[in-house]
């Protein structure tokens, strides 16, 4: 199994490195195409054009874009994410400050979503097209069809502003002293992901239950519980695990909305700020970290699938 997995992993990693290179160029080009630069955007009533021009020189924005890109690349290869054009501090610091909240949010959501989605998926899959299957399907589908910000606004209006049970924003709070801060954001993200994930587990369960070898095993009198746990679940989990990796991307989209609504100082917020202020080194750094994270998650997912059902790797 190792022999099969290793070259596959290496191959995937190489591909990801190429993707990473293309991505960093793309991000640089695209952010350069945005109107205005970091110096210009600080142009307000308080700075004169002369001050802006001086600022541009100070920030190195007077150098041609390719030159700036080469500088950036050289720094990154030595492990330095560069300096923010806005704060003047290291980009690595911005990454460190913002990644915590997003990680906590994502992990907390997964901790709720994964067990629930797997349970719901198996319940639905083993009762294909039954009343329970249809009931759960309708509810989760409906939930995933409502935009995140609608769910968020309704939840805040009811549970924070009306009932006063839960904090409405992260403003002025911190997780250590009030873990309740997590409840509403996770509830919003839950709605977005649980449906997709449970449907994949359901599909996997249905497919596995209808597979010839299961039908044969059932004919041979293997107990139902053993059948489900030993034979159905590993197969059913494969689409689930792949979906879980994709959930990472889906979650990021949701995290963006959730971070904005609940004023969570996370990764998405930092990224949006970076784009809005044309802080290109920060946008580059954050994107790079995200890309590496996505790569690792997908790699892990593929390796896990390979372990669960070794034939999947051979089928590729």
């Amino acid at each position: 199994m190792r022999l099969v997995a290793m070259p596959y992993a290496v191959q995937r990693t190489l591909l990801a490195v190429v993707q990473l290179a293309v991505l960093s160029v793309l991000v640089f080009v695209l952010t350069s195409l945005l109107p205005g630069d970091a110096a210009e955007l600080r142009f307000t009533e308080t700075l004169t054009p002369e001050q802006v021009a001086a600022l541009r020189v100070e920030l190195g924005l007077d150098q041609p874009a390719p030159e700036r890109f080469v500088h950036w690349l050289r720094d990154v290869l030595t492990g330095d994410l560069g300096t923010s054009l806005i704060s003047g501090g290291p980009v690595a610091g911005i990454v460190r400050n913002s990644i915590g909240a997003t990680l906590v949010l994502t992990l907390a959501t997964l901790a709720v979503v994964v067990p629930l989605a797997v349970a719901l998926g198996i319940v639905m899959g083993t009762r294909e097209n039954g009343r329970i299957d249809r009931a759960i399907s309708s509810v989760t589908l409906a939930l995933s069809a409502i935009p995140d910000f609608v769910i968020a606004v309704v939840l805040v209006a009811v549970f924070s502003l009306r009932l006063g049970w839960l904090p409405a924003t992260w403003v002025g709070g911190d997780l250590l002293s009030s873990p309740a801060l997590l409840i509403l954001p996770v509830a919003v993200l839950f709605g977005r992901t649980v449906c997709l994930l449970s449907r994949q587990v359901r599909a996997g369960t249905v497919a596995a239950l209808n597979a010839d070898y299961i039908i044969q095993a059932r004919r041979l009198g293997v107990p139902r519980r053993q059948l489900l746990l030993r034979h159905v679940l590993p197969n059913a989990a494969v689409p689930g695990v792949q979906e879980l990796a994709r959930t990472g991307d889906t979650l990021l989209g949701g995290v963006l909305v959730v971070e904005a609504i609940f004023a969570i100082p996370g990764f998405a917020t930092a990224l949006v700020d970076g784009v809005e202020t044309r802080d290109i080194p920060t946008v580059q750094g954050l994107t790079l970290v995200l890309a590496v994270a996505a790569l690792l998650i997908n790699l892990a997912a593929d390796l896990t699938c390979n372990r669960l059902v070794p034939r999947t790797a051979l089928l590729r």
């Binding site: 109107p35 205005g36 210009e40 955007l41 600080r42 142009f43 307000t44 009533e45 308080t46 700075l47 004169t48 054009p49 002369e50 001050q51 802006v52 001086a54 600022l55 100070e58 923010s84 806005i86 704060s87 501090g89 911005i94 400050n97 805040v156 924070s160 502003l161 006063g164 049970w165 839960l166 904090p167 409405a168 924003t169 403003v171 002025g172 709070g173 002293s177 009030s178 309740a180 904005a260 609504i261 609940f262 004023a263 100082p265 917020t269 930092a270 700020d273 970076g274 809005e276 202020t277 044309r278 802080d279 920060t282």
Partner: protein, 517 residues
Amino acid sequence: MGRVSEALGRRGFLGLAGGAGLAAVVGCGADAGAGSSAAAQPKQGGRLRAVYAGGGAKEVLDPHVQSLFVDIARHKAMYEKLVELGPDLKPVPRLAAKWEHDGTATTWRFSLRDATFHDGGKLVAEDVLYSLSRIADPKVPERVAQSSLATLDLKRSKAIDPATVELVLTAPNAEFPTLLAGIGTQIVRNGFKDPTKPVGTGAFKYVSFEAGRSLVATRYDDYWDEPARIEELHILSADAEARANAVQGGQAEYANDMTATFARTAEAGRTVRIVAAKASMMQAFVMKVDQPPFDNPDVRLAFKLLADRQRLVDVVLAGRGEVGNDLFGKGYQYYPADLPQRERDVDKAKALLAKAGLAGKQVEIFTADASAGFVEAATLFAEQVAEAGVRLKVTTGSPQTYAKDLLTKGAIGNHRSGAMTIPQYFTDRLLSNSPFNVTHWRRPEFDSAFAAARAVTSEQERSAKYGVLQKTLRDEGGILAWGLPDYLVAVSAKVQGVQAVPPNTLDQGRFDKVWLA
């Protein structure tokens, strides 16, 4: 745990304060601080959390590099200026107890107050000179007060004694004290190098800061101007939606710069009170006076006559504001209050437009979602102009670059301004070399008349001279000031002592004066 006690606290307050107390609390406005009932007696202690629009990594701790309201609020808690602005934008003494000039408004002497820095050091003249030279450092272009204090001659300025400093200008300027009240003019300790370790004379001492998130500060017990009542101050960053939720949900006690829509919903409830500084901002359309069709004064006047100001105020500002009279600074020092209000006159506008040959033509208005109501105002105004047979095509640009684009794009656009003194507004926007001259109003005779007026030492005479300039602007200029929005702050019902004053003035965001009931 914390949540429960907060919820109980709020309920307890509502129970106790019912009747007269509550009525006083709900009736928002300027008298909130000077309440007469027993319930309004200032109390000591507690923590106040104030939320402002955030700026992410852009937020700075250096008091000389500020431009965001949240930065200004934070620096105000820890640092002070020599001079501040009163509610009518007149200079009021702060660290400078008094000042006098040599009779020509060229050499100024400021007497310093008996104040101490947070490290125990006494405020002396050298601190002032050091602060001003730090601001003027040409190597750091983002020190914002550089241009406004450019006429200060630091080489000839000196300390007379520890408590008196003499500042010399290169040209006479009777407005010099108000320049010292501008943005980014805080007094720091002599030799202050590291902005991440703030040491000021303000009412609160630094505890911690995280850009884009929070400042924590505690009461400074030796504050010269009566120590704060609250024990701890948090100044936090959040966008409009989160500010609204935080102050309504009990996670903040003060939320700055709220929308009219929020004010309406908030006033329906009992937990939040709106403190409105009436008509303390300006919303305008700006016409470039050097570009067709607005290079023709008849067209400018026609557009001014076409604006249905009341409707713009009702729709765009949700009624929270007053109609404007094509001038900046209503209610401020030097505002010519005697000029008649401009009224709508479509027929007269039509005649002017026909004379100018503009009837049936199209004009482009450049706008962006850079500030609340910009696009709405442009769209509504296009309807109003259409009644005179001129098509106003609304072009929407990028909000982040709008401040700069406005100078170069479109012949007409949206403009807003917060509170500043009228001479400051002139300096920034209406002189030939003004950095932010959005109407391209460039008249050498206007420049020299303004410079002459600014040098007049008699306040009354100076005021009359400014008045003449403002009348010219109202009749011939490119500013169509249609509305004067209220500045809205939301406070939790238990917060007392918040003043309804324009932003950028002394009593705005004065957390050393508030208390928690």
